[in-house]
């Protein structure tokens, strides 16, 4: 009951908060590597359109953490029009639908590969992004984007299982627990086919990027087996449901688990021993951008160590930024899942790549069929 009241209060105050003061500081309060570099478009009344995930940038709403967009405006004089999306597919649909005029987008790995294939992204000019030197070696030349020609990594993480310590007593949690009848109706599951299929594919020993129709069908069969045990197929509703102890187990992204566990002591997070999906979200410039140089400037700004640190602390996802990683508390570095060992990352995690249209379509059909079956 308390939760509902809090929720309603939040909802009401949120309205007043959003209308609250949002004015940019006169001058930037942070230390920039090369202040001169950011002066180029000063007093030109320029603006760029940034399209990012929800809750995916430090916005000054927490004490002691800067408002990144306001700082950028103060440092460069370029106004940031900031909007958010909830899924890669939503971003893709917006870009495909035409009429979208974005200068910066931050898709995930497989979506970057798809956009490169469909010639939707601009090759980056690394002379304009001196701060790209901070990208960790592990994140250079990824399979989704050769030589990082179109993207600069922003955050990364792994998929694991959030569990309620009061309800789950197993210590060695692996994917098959999501098929354990003991937890019938206590399991939440991803409400998107790619992530859900990945879990079934790991259990069946297939590649996370399989395009084999038989393997995809077998994975769908596996998910169908699980359906009677699943309480609900959800995405960000996981925050509320796990927080209210509505469910015992939910697969989700490590960065969000960090946020959840900070609020609720009784939650834990397990990175399954049998392997998992590793994802990277990276900054890109759409080919349609008219303000490419200002967009490069924005990417460089997000790579400023102080800015990247603020974002890392606010978002809770793992960072691919060397200078930020060095400044992290040992507690975070060694929490067991934010920064798994190189060995684990190398051997047990897989990045998604873009699937063929046929495989995507088949996966979508199988998913619809599974979800509408009784």
């Amino acid at each position: 009951m308390k939760k509902t009241i809090i929720f309603l209060t939040c909802a009401i105050t949120a309205v007043s908060l959003f209308s609250g003061c949002n004015s940019a500081p006169e001058t930037s309060s942070i230390t920039l590597s090369d202040p001169e570099y950011y002066q180029k478009f000063k007093d030109q009344d320029m603006s760029i359109n940034v399209y990012n995930w929800g809750e995916y940038i430090a916005d000054g709403s927490e004490d002691g953490i800067i408002d990144v967009n306001a700082e950028f405006e103060a440092a460069t004089g370029i106004k940031v029009n900031y909007t958010t999306y909830a899924t890669n597919e939503e971003l893709y649909a917006k870009m495909k639908g035409g009429g979208a005029d974005y200068d910066i987008i931050i898709p995930s790995d497989y979506m970057i590969a798809r956009m490169i294939k469909e010639d939707m992204l601009m090759p980056l000019d690394y002379d304009l992004i001196p701060n790209s030197k901070y990208v960790m070696d592990t994140f250079q030349n990824p399979i989704y984007d050769e030589n990082n020609a179109h993207s600069v990594p922003y955050t990364w993480g792994t998929v694991g299982i959030i569990y309620n310590k009061n309800l789950v007593d197993e210590t060695n949690i692996d994917w098959d627990i999501l098929w354990d009848e003991k937890y019938a109706d206590q399991i939440l599951m991803f409400d998107n086919p790619r992530d859900a299929f990945a879990i079934a594919e790991i259990i069946l020993g297939y590649s996370l990027n399989t395009e084999d129709p038989d393997e995809l069908r077998a994975a769908a069969e596996k998910l169908k087996e699980q359906k009677s045990l699943v309480q609900a197929y959800v995405m960000d509703e996981i925050f509320d449901k796990m927080g209210a102890e509505e469910a015992a187990l939910a697969p989700y992204y490590a960065g969000d688990a960090v946020t959840l566990m900070a609020d609720y002591d009784f939650l834990g997070f397990a990175v399954p021993e049998s392997g998992t999906n590793r994802f990277v979200d990276a900054m890109c410039i759409p080919k349609t951008s008219q303000k490419a140089e200002a967009a490069h400037m924005y990417i460089n700004f997000l790579m400023e160590p102080e800015v990247a640190l603020a974002n890392c602390e606010y978002i809770g996802y793992s960072t691919p930024h060397t200078a930020v990683y060095e400044q992290l508390d040992d507690e975070v570095k060694n929490d067991g899942f934010s920064y798994p060992s190189d060995e684990y990352l190398e051997e047990k995690t897989t990045l998604f790549v873009n699937l063929s249209d046929e495989a995507n379509q088949l996966m979508q059909d199988l998913w619809t069929e599974m979800k509408s079956s009784n």
């Binding site: 009951m1 509902t4 597919e89 609900a232 509320d240 102890e245 979508q364 619809t368 979800k371 509408s372």
Partner: protein
């Protein structure tokens, strides 16, 4: 006389032109685009393939129609007495009561639906209260019943308002005449008020059934994602794993045809000339 009539016609065209323009740009053109996408493939070639492939989702269509119909009937049963009582109330408190009826729609649709998630959950308020008297917990959330509840809760005002608008116009003297001629209370309602309020009933049903059959957020939030409705299916074609606007358009088009058929059948019951148009 003729000229006068012509002048009036001109004037009415002129005054209607802003809406006609609006309608062409924002209703006719988008509908034509939906039809265009439904009958073409990704290369713009004419095809029936997508329209045909909608057939595989028959069970989802049936579930949507079924749930929307139940929600509409419940809305009607709840709304009719309310609307009738409203018309019987003192004029001074009419506007206050109408305001109270519309009060829930002042709050954002998503927020209202979200609130039901916390109410219906296993550890939610309803189950907590039931727990105090030794019952439950019952599985309320993530069921078809929860989806219907969400529809009824969200669309009830849209049933009450048209019913009320029609009923308030019924001449009191007709009701008195019926009573004078020996009708008891029930007979007045069933034999006089009900037939006279048919236009309100049809528009109320339309205003509840149409949004209910195409909703996707209610079924997602309250149905646990496993009670797929047509709205979810359409959304998946645009925001799902495969971007397939042609299939999405085909499903939308067929949904429109189904709604049109149902509404035409509905309107057969409404022979009255002065229909309440939405």
């Amino acid at each position: 006389m003729n000229q006068n009539k012509k002048g009036n016609g001109m004037l009415s065209y002129l005054t209607a032109s802003p809406y006609i323009l609006w309608m062409i740009i924002f209703i006719i053109v988008p509908l034509a685009m939906v039809a265009y996408f439904a009958f073409t493939d990704s290369n713009g070639q004419f095809t029936f393939e997508y329209i045909k492939s909608v057939g595989q989702y028959t069970n989802i269509f049936i579930r949507s129609i079924w749930l929307a119909a139940i929600a509409t009937i419940i809305c009607f049963l709840l709304a009719y007495p309310v609307a009738y009582i409203l018309t019987r109330l003192d004029k001074n408190i009419h506007s206050t009561m109408i305001m109270l009826v519309t009060l829930p729609i002042w709050m954002n649709f998503l927020l209202r639906t979200y609130a039901w998630m916390t109410l219906l959950g296993n550890n939610g308020i309803i189950n907590s209260i039931l727990g105090f008297i030794g019952l439950g917990p019952y599985k309320l959330l993530n069921t078809q019943g929860a989806v219907v509840l969400g529809m009824v809760y969200n669309y009830l005002p849209y049933m009450i308002l048209p019913l009320y608008t029609v009923m308030i116009k019924i001449d009191k003297s007709i009701l008195e005449a019926a009573q004078d001629l020996g009708c008891n209370g029930a007979q007045v309602i069933f034999r006089v008020v009900l037939p006279l309020s048919v236009p309100g009933i049809t528009s109320g049903i339309t205003m509840v059934f149409v949004p209910a059959i195409s909703t996707f957020i209610i079924s997602r939030m309250l149905g646990g994602g496993s009670n797929l409705l047509i709205g979810d299916l359409i959304e998946m074609q645009f925001l799902g794993n495969s971007y397939n606007p042609n299939l999405g358009a085909a499903i939308s088009l067929i949904l429109m045809v189904i709604v049109l058929i149902i509404m035409t059948v509905m309107n057969q019951f409404d022979g009255d000339d002065d229909k309440v148009l939405i």
